[in-house]
């Protein structure tokens, strides 16, 4: 969806240029060289657009999920979409109305964030299904006069009411139980567990869970894993202090710390699989449509802004990509910890700026250890190689699917 790509670019700008702890901001010393006016304007625009794209993505996702589900069954798709928007907004309201501290506005609710995409998709799909079972068939026509619109509204009343009652119940559950469903704090424990763990097996198991969640469209754990907060944990501070004292990170006390394994190697800043997939699609040069999506997302993905491609291709809930999405980061972590064990690379203990390209994270995180850079590049190439059979499989399935659809089209015609 183009909304996600637009969001990706603005997020790239915000995270890499217009925030004080970001990569490009710091290396070009914008602190001194950029005038305050430009900075404020830039961060105003970027924050605003990230907010209306990613911050409200649930609205769009619920609308389109309901719309296409209803259309599939020849029901009134527009009204299904609007009903889904109403319900997701009500959920957002329900989850935020009890919010004492910060913003009570439902537009700032975590339910609507792109990181909670799964909920929006489910709501949209459920509404679409309700329209499927209860709605009357609907044929879109070129020109609708008042009378037709009226019957159309009347026809949609039953499924819309049923959906809204169901949505009401969902909202009440959210409000009563005060479940902060799908917000970064829900997964805080999980993320902290990963960052503070020095046990490879535990890290691998948890990284598996994080990637699984991000595959089904819950991006919060991966997102908070990528933030600089990783450095505030006690063990990471001990590591950093050790490295600063001894001028290197070879023998830090916690070599296999989750925060220095998952982000730099496992997820490569969140971009490893996504970027590898983009490169494969571009190199294989097969399908014009996916190629364009890949091309548009190449730059943001190189700077770890991956949502555009996650949704554009899509990767989310795509059964073909389930295994690589979940397994490749785990394999990366295993190889990286082996390499640390064999003293080929050093652990990443130094702080890394926000928006640093994924491939460079381990290089910068080890205070410029060249073998880390070479290792990262090799790891990335390996990721690409691992993805090739999957992408071939994907292409074959796509062709079969097309043939099937064509056949079906022939039959109905």
């Amino acid at each position: 969806m183009p909304i996600a790509i637009i969001g990706s670019y603005f997020k790239l700008l915000r995270d890499a240029v217009f925030s004080p702890d970001s990569f490009i901001y710091n290396i070009l010393n914008f602190d001194l060289t950029m005038s305050d006016k430009i900075w404020y304007a830039g961060s105003f625009i970027c924050n605003g657009f990230v907010r209306v794209t990613f911050g409200l993505f649930g609205l769009y996702a619920a609308y389109f999920a309901a719309r296409y589900t209803a259309r599939l069954y020849h029901k009134d798709s527009t009204l299904a979409g609007m009903t889904a928007v109403m319900i997701i907004m009500f959920c957002a309201y329900a989850s935020n109305v009890g919010n004492k501290l910060s913003n009570k506005s439902m537009f700032s609710s975590s339910v609507l964030q792109i990181n909670a995409l799964l909920l929006a998709l489910l709501v949209g799909y459920a509404v679409g299904e309700i329209f499927h079972w209860l709605g009357k068939n609907h044929q879109p026509v070129e020109f609708e006069h008042v009378h037709r619109v009226r019957t159309r509204a009347w026809n949609a009343l039953l499924p819309a009411s049923v959906s809204i009652i169901a949505g009401m119940i969902l909202g009440i559950i959210i409000y009563e139980l005060q479940i902060k469903i799908l917000s970064s704090s829900t997964f805080k424990e999980l993320v902290i567990q990963i960052q503070n763990s020095n046990n490879i097996f535990e890290i691998i198991a948890l990284a598996f869970v994080v990637m699984l969640l991000s595959w089904i469209g819950i991006g919060y754990p991966l997102a908070s894993l990528s933030t600089a907060a990783a450095l505030t944990s006690g063990a990471a501070t001990v590591n950093l202090n050790y490295a600063l004292k001894h001028g290197g990170s070879w023998n830090v006390p916690y070599k296999f710390l989750g925060s220095s394994l998952v982000y730099p190697y496992g997820a490569m800043g969140g971009a490893s699989v996504v970027l590898a997939l983009i490169v494969i699609i571009l190199l294989s040069h097969q399908n014009k449509e996916t190629e364009n999506i890949a091309k548009a997302n190449l730059l943001p993905a190189a700077f770890n802004s991956t949502w555009g491609f996650m949704i554009g291709l899509p990767i989310i809930l795509n059964p073909v990509l389930f295994l690589p999405m979940v397994l490749i980061p785990v394999i990366n972590i295993m190889i990286a910890s082996l390499a640390i064990f064999l003293h080929i690379i050093t652990p990443c203990v130094y702080p890394v700026l926000k928006g640093t390209p994924g491939i460079l994270i381990s290089f910068f995180g080890s205070n410029g250890n060249w073998s880390n850079l070479v290792f990262s590049i090799c790891l990335f190439i390996l990721d690409i190689l691992m993805l090739i059979p999957i992408s071939l499989l994907g292409q074959r399935i796509e062709r079969k699917l097309k043939a099937y659809e064509y056949e079906k089209g022939q039959q109905t015609a």
Partner: protein
């Protein structure tokens, strides 16, 4: 066949896009590498630094010369003399320096004064901003990882405002170990604690931003039973509503006797003693260095618990 494939791959129009993005990444990698080296070096310097300055802020209507007498008294009986750096901040944030920090002095005094040193809450907010300008400059020049703060009168208010609004930018690299305020009117000239000024209300509202491991001493003067002549004791005591149960320990002390006037406090012999005992690092002595430190530490904790009201 292989050649053909390779050829096909080379002719792929997408290759130039990949190359372009790779180039972009590389172009940023070079200055990024430089930045990283510099940043980590500075970090290491700060980490290894043994420097722990005492940063002093005078009260309203006072300049950086305000503590001359105090510094003289503090330097009287010490084997290592504390060097003094004075920084004047103009109203547009320009810094002018006088004095200097000796290379082997690990506990220099840095005195920060303001061109506009007027009283009033709005001025204190501004002064905290100027204090931050100066603090940022010295934190970059001298690369210390911890410091002690001292504020006389409104100087204590400026420190408190700075702690609540500016300190968080530094807190992961620089620690304020101890804060001592002398005759600081946390509730301005208000004698009745039930009448909280706007400033005190704001301080209390933001008190959760105060560092949890900070040790705070608040010294008040007792010229008579109610005040030090200018600041009511109740106003100094109002500090407990800000610091108590927020920082590691909050100790309130009252100095009486000769020279317990508000403006005499910085050169009061008891205040000097209190500063030496609580604010400064214990004097290092090769033989009993560890013992004196431990003794000092437990002393601190005991005081913190006993005198906290």
């Amino acid at each position: 066949m292989n050649m053909k494939k390779a050829n096909k791959l080379l002719k792929n129009p997408n290759l130039k896009w990949i190359a372009l993005v790779l180039l972009v990444v590389m172009v940023f990698a070079i200055p990024g590498y430089k930045w990283m080296e510099r940043d980590n070096q500075a970090r290491a310097q700060r980490m290894k630094s043994a420097l722990s300055p005492v940063i002093m802020v005078p009260g309203s209507s006072a300049s950086t010369e305000r503590f001359n007498e105090l510094v003289k008294l503090l330097n009287q009986n010490t084997p290592t003399k504390h060097s003094v750096l004075k920084i004047n901040v103009s109203t547009n944030g320009n810094l002018s320096y006088s004095g200097s920090i000796n290379k082997n002095d690990n506990e220099p005094f840095i005195i920060i004064g303001f061109k506009n040193n007027k009283d009033g809450y709005s001025n204190i907010k501004k002064q905290a901003g100027w204090l931050d300008e100066a603090f940022e400059a010295i934190s970059q020049d001298y690369k210390f990882n911890n410091f002690k703060a001292f504020g006389h009168s409104n100087g204590g208010l400026i420190w408190t405002y700075w702690l609540e609004h500016y300190y968080s930018t530094y807190s992961d690299e620089i620690t304020m170990k101890r804060l001592m305020t002398v005759g600081t009117p946390y509730n301005f000239s208000e004698k009745n604690i039930n009448h909280k000024t706007q400033m005190l209300e704001d301080f209390i509202k933001c008190k959760n931003r105060l560092p949890k491991n900070l040790v705070v001493y608040s010294v008040s003067g007792g010229k008579n039973y109610e005040s030090d002549g200018i600041v009511p004791e109740a106003s100094v005591a109002a500090g407990k509503y800000i610091f108590q149960k927020q920082v590691k320990s909050y100790t309130a002390m009252t100095i009486t006797g000769d020279k317990a006037d508000h403006s005499d406090l910085p050169q009061n012999q008891q205040v000097v003693q209190v500063i030496q005992q609580y604010l400064l690092e214990p004097i290092k002595n090769k033989n009993n260095q560890v013992i004196s430190r431990q003794g000092k530490k437990s002393d601190n904790d005991k005081n913190g618990q006993n005198e906290q009201d």
